[in-house]
């Protein structure tokens, strides 16, 4: 199951400077978002090949029509342990810097337009020491954390000590 997204489907009626179009997805009960322009496609979970001695949040590599890309487990990145991936899990394929990467999440929720003015800077959270969150958006019911994808991919994942702490906090 592959859903192709492209600018042509969502050509913005409003000037881009005032509105950000955001894809939101869930990991557990948390909602995250990234700009729609970064998303190349969304596909169902597919078995990855693990890489030796890679950072914990690197799930491995997979073949996307002949291109090999790495899949990062967002759940691990935010300190919730590894995703037990099933067919219902989703890989968001994103363009980040000059690379293509996959982001393993639980599900994709929506595409929303958010006024730029509604994006708040991320509060100086003690636990977000990796700077994964670029900003916050309040929707009706959810708080959407906008991800800094570069940081997600660069980040070596959360080390076990922090993970344990986070687990306790939860």
């Amino acid at each position: 199951m592959t859903l192709q997204l492209g600018e042509k489907h969502f050509s913005s009626a409003q000037p881009e400077s005032t509105v950000r179009r955001i894809v939101t997805f869930k990991v557990g009960d948390r909602t995250f978002g990234i700009d729609v322009g970064m998303v190349r496609e969304i596909k169902g979970w597919q078995t990855t090949t693990p890489l030796p001695h890679a950072a914990p949040h690197v799930r491995g590599v997979l073949n996307l029509r002949g291109v090999i890309l790495a899949v990062y487990d967002l759940r691990t990145s935010i300190g919730l342990g590894q995703t037990e991936a099933t067919a219902t899990h989703v890989i968001v394929v994103v363009d980040i810097e000059d690379k293509v990467a996959g982001l393993l999440v639980d599900s994709v929720s929506d595409i929303v337009d958010v006024p730029v003015s509604a994006v708040r800077p991320a509060p100086d959270l003690e636990r977000d020491e990796h700077g994964l969150i670029e900003g916050l958006v309040l929707l009706d019911t959810d708080i959407v954390a906008l991800l800094d994808l570069g940081a997600v991919i660069r980040d070596g994942g959360v080390d076990p000590a922090t993970m344990a702490k986070t687990a306790r906090a939860n």
């Binding site: 078995t47 693990p50 590599v61 073949n63 291109v67 090999i68 990467a101």
Partner: protein, 785 residues
């Protein structure tokens, strides 16, 4: 990129090829080739460079190339005998042209080479100084003022250009002179004088016939530009001959069918007009006649009119060649029947008789005889034909094609896997089809690879110059022998070959070969020989650099290695092991660090470069006799033959090239050393054993009862324990760096038949990984060996 810049880029690319060809031909001639094709090819190369350079306004390049071309023309015409020709000078000139090209390419100021230009001008003048002290000026009086005028206000190159233009003009401008003037250094035939004198008079009438080749437009030249180069006020009339325009059905709009006749009343001399066209039109495409001379020439217009026929048959033959052709049989006399172009040859012969007795000086007969008249025309035609059947393709497109073939290989192995689960009756039928498909896929792959393949000539060509320059710097006498230049290898490999080869040759020149005195003292000929050989062997390309120098100085190398702590003070090494130290980092045995080498980075870098390409390098040395470096590289980086293995839940591919043997663990006694290091006895040697699952962190349960004996790049053996050997297949190499980064233990990845990714193991990197994850890095090996 704007179109002009793109064209310019193409021109520079072509220049490189042309320079390569030029150098190769000159080299061949220098080594005693008497093949006139070589002369012609060299001439054509420099002529093409000049033409292109003119179009892009590279004036320095044009003027140098022009002089160079003119002196090569002396050889071509036989005015200078091949054995007398200064090929060393020509080779230096071809280097200079290469410098000019790269200067033009980088928009840098070009270094003027007055010394070479002066030397070039001497070519063709030297042989008979007594008979004709100022040969260029001798045949036609007006030729003298031209160079003089040019010399007064121009650099030496331009002066030489003027001088040569005068000669060329003398040859081509006035038809009657063709057969005699400009050929040799003999005084002109009497009737040439009034003809040639005409241009000197002010306001003379000139009839200009322009017969562009049909590819004029494709050379990005249009008649407007050609005619625009004439002073407007001087043009009396322009007539356009449209008789060549074909009927509409066969008309190709990109062809030029127009012929122009321009009447001029001008003060410009013929050579000035000539020079205005020199960059837009080939010599055979136009003809300048002074009208006054026409009357005198009416009985002998043949050579001038002949070219259309000649151009139709072999478009690249210049008017000069036509004249050459005509003159050669004339000189050889009736005995020869070598002229294959009766439509060209007989006509000039009719004109020629008068000068022949004078021209056929004994000196000239020899070179003329050596150059079969057939060659220039046929060679040119053949060259044009070759051009017609080859196309320039963007490498990107071929890469895409290659990728697609890779996809097909994957899809096909996927099919193979699907078919296995089919019931037997369907399976049998399908399997047959799949078998055919796989054969075709492999064939397709071979063909695409062949498209990407290039002869190693592209790299080898750069080496003679390197050797020449180094020989000069080092004061050594060296002959470079190239073999197997046509061995083909993937383009990606070709690009990576240049650096290692340069290093290897530098190394041989600097360390290997002795100075002439030392060589004589050692009872060897003063001239050293370096052989550069390429050949295909066992699916790899093997390139060797052999020198007949002093060989590796083992004592010094070992002492150096000891002082650097690379080898223990009392460690004993076999002679071959000492030789291998030459690849160790930071070792140089040269007493004096020179510009050439001696910093100890060379061979170390070579080894790393080669290994990063999946190749290996070795050295054989015989003290006093020489040294041989052998480089083995895969033919392509895109596909490799691999063994698919399984360990736990994960599959890996190990390149077949690394695998020596596989065996069951049960048949091999394992012994445990300290720190969990296991070794096994294999062929009487102690070989370290690594468990792949542990090293690569494979998931799932493992039994590891298969051992693969693999070879490291250093030539050591290592055992790798895995669960299962799944099969052997061609795999398409996919980069991991592109979207991820370097993966320790793996060189790349591939996609298996089920669409999943498998890592391609890199044995050396895997061993490093094993060493870094707390295991002892094979300490027992050396003692055991």
């Amino acid at each position: 990129m704007d179109p002009l810049a793109e064209l310019k880029q193409t021109f520079f690319q072509e220049c490189e090829e042309l320079l390569g060809a030029l150098e190769l031909k000159l080299q061949a001639l220098d080594e005693g080739s008497t093949d006139s094709e070589d002369v012609n090819a060299a001439f054509r190369a420099i002529h093409s460079i000049k033409g292109g350079a003119g179009a892009f306004g590279c004036t320095e390049l044009v003027s140098f190339a022009h002089v160079f071309e003119a002196s090569l023309d002396h050889l071509r015409s036989g005015r200078v005998a091949l054995e007398d020709a200064p090929f060393a000078l020509f080779l230096r000139c071809s280097d200079a042209v290469a410098d000019l090209v790269s200067a033009a390419r980088n928009d840098e100021p070009a270094r003027p080479r007055p010394d070479l230009l002066a030397a070039l001008e001497q070519v063709g003048q030297a042989p008979k100084p007594a008979a004709a002290p100022v040969p260029a000026a001798a045949p036609a009086p007006p030729a003298a003022p031209a160079p003089a005028a040019a010399a007064s206000d121009a650099p030496p190159g331009i002066a030489a250009l003027g001088n040569l233009l005068a000669m060329v003009e003398a040859k081509t401008a006035a038809p009657a002179e063709k057969a005699d003037a400009g050929w040799d250094d003999e005084p002109a035939a009497p009737k040439a004088a009034p003809v040639a004198a005409a241009p000197a008079k002010a306001g003379h009438d000139i009839c200009l016939k322009i017969r562009p080749e049909s590819d004029l437009f494709r050379r990005v030249i249009e008649p407007r530009v050609v005619l625009g180069s004439l002073p407007v006020d001087d043009i009396v009339s322009v007539t356009c001959d449209l008789s060549q325009v074909p009927s509409l059905e066969t008309l190709d709009v990109s062809d030029c069918y127009m012929r122009f006749t321009v009447m001029l009343r001008t003060e410009l001399s013929v050579e000035e007009i000539y020079s205005r066209f020199d960059f837009t039109l080939a010599a055979e495409e136009f003809e300048i006649e002074t009208v006054a001379a026409n009357a005198a020439n009416d009985d002998a217009p043949a050579p001038a009119v002949a070219p259309p026929a000649a151009t139709a048959a072999s478009p690249e033959v210049s008017a000069n060649v036509a004249a050459d052709l005509s003159a050669i049989p004339a000189r050889l006399g009736p005995a020869t029947d070598a002229a294959p172009q009766p439509d060209i040859a007989p006509k000039p012969v009719a004109v020629a008789p008068a000068p022949v007795p004078v021209a056929a000086a004994p000196v000239e007969a020899a070179p003329a005889a050596r150059m079969p008249a057939r060659a220039p025309a046929n060679d040119a035609a053949a060259a044009r034909q070759r051009q017609a059947v080859s196309v320039r393709v963007d490498l990107d497109r071929i890469d895409k094609l290659m990728n697609l073939v890779g996809e097909i290989v994957i899809t096909q192995s996927m099919l193979v896997e699907c078919v296995r689960s089919l019931p037997y009756d369907i399976y049998a039928k399908t399997a047959e089809g799949i078998l055919t498909l796989s054969r075709q896929t492999r064939e397709l792959q071979d063909h695409v690879m062949a498209v990407r393949a290039q002869p190693v000539k592209a790299v080898f060509q750069r080496m003679p110059r390197l050797v020449r320059e180094l020989a000069q710097t080092l004061g050594k006498e060296v002959r470079l022998v190239l073999e197997g230049e046509n061995t083909e290898v993937d383009k990606t490999i070709i690009e990576e070959l240049a650096d290692p080869l340069t290093h290897m040759i530098r190394n041989s020149m600097d360390h290997g070969l002795e100075t002439p005195d030392e060589r004589i003292a050692a009872g060897k000929p003063p001239e050293g020989v370096i052989k550069l050989v390429a050949e295909h062997r066992a699916g790899r390309i093997v390139i060797s650099v052999t020198d007949d120098g002093r060989g590796i100085g083992r004592d010094r190398l070992l002492a150096k290695a000891r002082s650097r702590g690379l080898v223990g003070q009392d460690e004993k090494l076999a002679p071959e092991e000492i030789d291998q130290l030459i690849f160790a980092a930071g070792l140089s045995t040269a007493e004096v660090i020179s510009d050439v080498s001696g910093r100890g980075v060379g061979m170390d870098v070579v080894r790393r470069n080669v290994e990063s390409l999946g190749g290996r390098i070795s050295v054989d040395s015989e003290p006093g006799r020489g040294c041989k470096f052998t480089l083995a590289l895969p033919l392509t980086l895109a596909v490799l033959e691999g063994m698919v293995i399984r360990c736990g839940d994960d599959r890996y591919v190990i390149p077949i090239a690394s695998v020596i043997e596989t065996q069951h663990l049960a048949s091999t006694p394992i012994e445990h050393l300290t720190f969990g290091q296991e070794v096994l006895r294999w062929r009487g040697e102690v070989t370290p054993l690594h468990r792949l699952g542990a090293v690569m962190g494979s998931t799932g349960t493992r039994n590891e009862n298969i051992i693969i004996i693999a070879e490291t790049e250093r030539g050591d053996n290592v055992g790798i324990a895995v669960d299962e050997i799944v099969g052997q297949q061609q795999v398409v190499v996919k980069s991991l760096e592109g979207n991820y980064g370097t993966v320790n233990g793996a060189s790349a990845a591939t996609i298996l038949g089920d669409g999943l990714v498998a890592l391609i193991l890199d044995v050396d990197s895997m061993l490093r990984l094993a060493a870094s994850s707390g295991r002892s890095p094979v300490p027992a090996l050396k003692m055991a060996g």
